[in-house]
């Protein structure tokens, strides 16, 4: 890749005699005590993928149970615990930490030409807190389970005799982990950008992470106090949420959603950032509307704080509050729409290669558009009255969270896999897994829109016979989806052993991570790189090469 503008180019991509961040030091201990953001990223990656496998296992069990009404493979109580754990594991242990923890940690410093994040030891602490939180949360499986749903609504959660305290304390600790990551990223982006990396010369992935970090800082502490209040309500009956003592169960929902709605943006914004990278790099095209995409990330993050009450239109919230929240919800839909248009605009006039990462990015566009548009249904006050707490909602948030975030995550994983591991995976298998994923996903979840709009409530163990064919179809879809992930797992793991050595820049990208070796050396670059053009100046680069 000719990039004449890098002052330290020769030194920045050293053939360092085979020494890289992976084999720089040896032994488990050297990983557990590392402060290298790349190693921490890899440990996050392994952890969140384990969590994803666990959550996915619960999901498959749930779908199997729903194959027929009434008892199929488990009792109602087991079912309730399974969907709760599916939600808790996927939300707190997988989606929230996934992209920032794994890909963000690995690439954020490299993309701005820094040697590490601002607070490397805090970064390691954040990983340890994640593990501790995970152990707390998962200890519930071994004790009495948890059957509240991931939303912990009172008074159910303050009266059920399952392990609410373990899991809330776990989520509390996980919240700390999330806060520390966000704090670290914000400071890193402010203070450690290499010379020449101005705010608007950052890859858009970083704008996504920046916006995410703002939300993590502002919203997560409220989850902390909410869970603390819940624990006190359970153990000491303080009466803040207990109506018998003058408290208000609906107030809990305000507290919970003040965090959990912005948390939706913690989940999706980094994914949107990845998609901007994938489309630009694989289309070799300058991003259309860079500033619009960058600012819309921040706008989504901030306006996202004003709309939590749209989860409560039928919860006993006042009509005035519902009206205000509905209005603001429509406003937050706009920046998401703008992003989609900009991505399509970036395809225009590009030179598009259909490697696996790009296929995932196009799948994202398809799935996220459905997810986003069905969100508009739920934002409409009267329509939400019919759809709230039905499978329509389940389908909607799976299209956003899985069709959006997970698709972006696996797309990003394929995109950066050669950089992270130094190995190429089999393109054929990657394309196969993407195709299976796309088909399986739609089969599983599109069906659920139909069930929901026809009146099938969520969190149902047993259901009306008329829904059986649709449920069965959804369950078959989930098996295809499961198979897609098995193929993907095999492909990626196999590449570690048998994959070809990855070149420095397999996709012809222009951002800084493609300047350094695959895999990168311990401090990313031998000399601080000096960058004089944006990460998407493809046309200029081609022209320069031609001249």
């Amino acid at each position: 890749m000719s990039r004449s503008i890098t002052v330290d180019e020769v030194a920045a991509a050293p053939d360092s005699g085979g020494t890289d961040y992976i084999n720089a030091t040896k032994g488990v201990w050297s990983w557990l005590t590392t402060v290298d953001h790349k190693r921490i990223g890899i440990m996050y990656l392994v952890s969140v993928l384990t969590a994803f496998a666990l959550g996915g296992f619960f999901a498959l069990l749930l779908r199997l149970e729903l194959l027929t009404p009434k008892h199929t493979i488990m009792s109602a109580d087991t079912y309730n615990q399974a969907f709760t754990l599916h939600g808790v594991v996927m939300v707190f242990l997988f989606i929230i930490p996934s992209i920032p923890g794994a890909l963000g940690n690995f690439f954020l410093p490299i993309m701005i030409g820094a040697k590490d994040v601002a607070f490397p030891r805090l970064n390691l602490l954040s990983l340890y807190l994640y593990w501790i939180g995970a152990i707390f949360a998962l200890s519930s499986i071994l004790s009495s389970g948890l059957d509240t749903g991931w939303t912990f609504y009172v008074p159910y959660s303050s009266t059920t005799n399952t392990a609410v305290v373990n899991v809330t304390l776990g989520a509390f600790v996980l919240g700390f982990s999330s806060i520390l990551t966000g704090l670290n990223f914000i400071v890193t982006l402010h203070k450690l950008r290499a010379p020449g990396v101005g705010w608007f010369k950052m890859p858009l992935f970083l704008w996504g992470l920046y916006a995410t970090s703002i939300v993590q800082i502002l919203a997560t502490p409220v989850l902390g106090i909410t869970l603390l209040l819940l624990v006190f309500e359970r153990t000491l009956h303080i009466g803040i949420f207990d109506p018998a003592l003058g408290g208000d169960p609906v107030l809990f929902q305000h507290f919970f959603w003040f965090y959990s709605h912005p948390a939706v943006y913690i989940m999706i914004l980094p994914g949107m950032g990845i998609i901007s990278e994938l489309i630009a790099v694989h289309a070799h095209r300058k991003v259309f509307g860079y500033k619009a995409i960058a600012f819309s990330s921040v706008a989504i993050a901030l306006v996202g704080f004003l709309v939590w009450g749209h989860h409560m239109f039928v919860a006993g919230q006042s009509e005035l509050a519902s009206t205000i929240f509905s209005f603001l919800t429509f406003l937050v839909a706009i920046p998401s729409g703008v992003k989609v248009f900009n991505w399509i605009g970036t395809l225009w006039g590009g030179s598009i290669s259909f490697k696996a990462p790009m296929l995932f990015a196009l799948s994202f566009l398809f799935l996220f558009t459905i997810g986003g548009l069905t969100g508009v249904f739920l934002g409409m006050l009267s329509v939400d009255m019919h759809l709230h707490d039905t499978y329509f909602v389940v389908a909607h948030f799976h299209y956003v969270m899985m069709g959006g975030t997970v698709t972006a995550f696996v797309g990003g994983l394929h995109h950066w896999w050669p950089k992270m591991t130094g190995r190429m995976y089999s393109e054929k298998l990657a394309v196969l897994s993407c195709a299976l994923y796309f088909i399986g996903f739609n089969a599983t979840f599109f069906t659920q829109f139909l069930m929901g709009s026809r009146g099938m409530p969520r969190r149902y163990y047993n259901y009306l016979d008329q829904f059986q064919p649709l449920h069965a179809f959804s369950t078959f879809g989930s098996w295809i989806l499961g198979a897609a992930f098995l193929v993907m797992l095999y492909n990626l793991l196999n590449s570690l052993k048998n994959g070809e050595r990855a070149p420095k820049n397999p996709w012809g990208g222009l951002s800084l991570e493609w300047e350094t070796a695959s895999p990168p050396v311990t401090e990313n670059f031998v000399h601080v790189p000096h960058v004089e053009h944006g990460p998407y100046d493809y046309a200029a680069t081609v022209a320069r090469r031609a001249s």
Binding site: P109, H190, K191, L192, P221, G246, G247, L251, E523
Partner: protein, 227 residues
């Protein structure tokens, strides 16, 4: 790092201590490292404010719903003790600020003195709190289900005391954590870690301590004065 520091004329330049301090490898200058640390602490303080914010929100909601009950219940708090504690905490904020100033001037003795006074103020605060809590326990002025205070007209005093104990309890926990951090600073100061070249930890603990004071500045009038 190698390059000898340039010293700006007119700034305090006691002994150039802290040989331990080196700019961390991933920062380009000492200023950047200082700023990064301080920005990190400010971001952390944001999370603290929103954590307490949840409790302020419950207070606002329930005060509005059970206004009379709250006014009645707040007369059972001791304004004198609360006021005294406010003065103690403000005093500790002053001494903390002075400790940072002393550290900035590489005045080790003065730093030690000020940190010790700050610790004593914090301890005084907690002792007063202990007496207040005991009095509440004695009269059955307890949260929610455990409330059995006598002579109350309203039926929601339990909610007031739930919020009172939560707010002051969480605040008290922060005072305790602050005392731990100040003690740690004291030890490091005695070890000779700090100088005008390097005082970031003292400054950052100071910021935390001032926030603890800030929260109390709102807690006190809300709970003790207007109810």
């Amino acid at each position: 790092m190698s390059a000898p520091a340039e010293i700006v004329e007119g700034q305090p330049s006691a002994e150039r201590g802290s040989p331990q301090f080196e700019v961390a490898h991933h920062f380009d200058s000492a200023d950047t490292q200082f700023d990064a640390g301080r920005m990190g602490v400010w971001l952390f303080l944001v999370t603290e404010i929103l954590l307490f914010g949840g409790l302020f929100c419950t207070f606002a909601v329930f005060r509005s719903w059970y206004f009379e009950d709250f006014v009645e219940a707040h007369h059972h708090l001791n304004k004198v003790m609360g006021g005294a504690n406010t003065l103690v905490l403000i005093g500790s904020s002053l001494t903390m600020a002075l400790a940072v100033r002393a550290a900035q001037m590489t005045d080790k003795k003065q730093t030690t003195r000020m940190l010790v006074i700050t610790l004593l103020c914090a301890a005084t605060f907690l002792v007063v709190k202990y007496f207040e809590y005991s009095a509440k326990f004695e009269h059955g002025l307890l949260p929610g289900a455990y409330f059995h205070g006598e002579g109350f007209q309203g039926t929601h005093a339990g909610v007031f005391f739930a919020i009172y104990f939560l707010m002051t309890g969480v605040h008290g926990l922060h005072v305790l954590i602050g005392m731990g951090l100040i003690t740690w600073m004291l030890i490091r100061n005695l070890r000779g870690d700090f100088s005008s070249r390097y005082y970031a930890p003292v400054e950052n603990v100071g910021l935390y301590w001032h926030l603890v004071d800030l929260v109390w500045i709102y807690l006190f009038p809300l709970l003790y004065l207007v109810g």
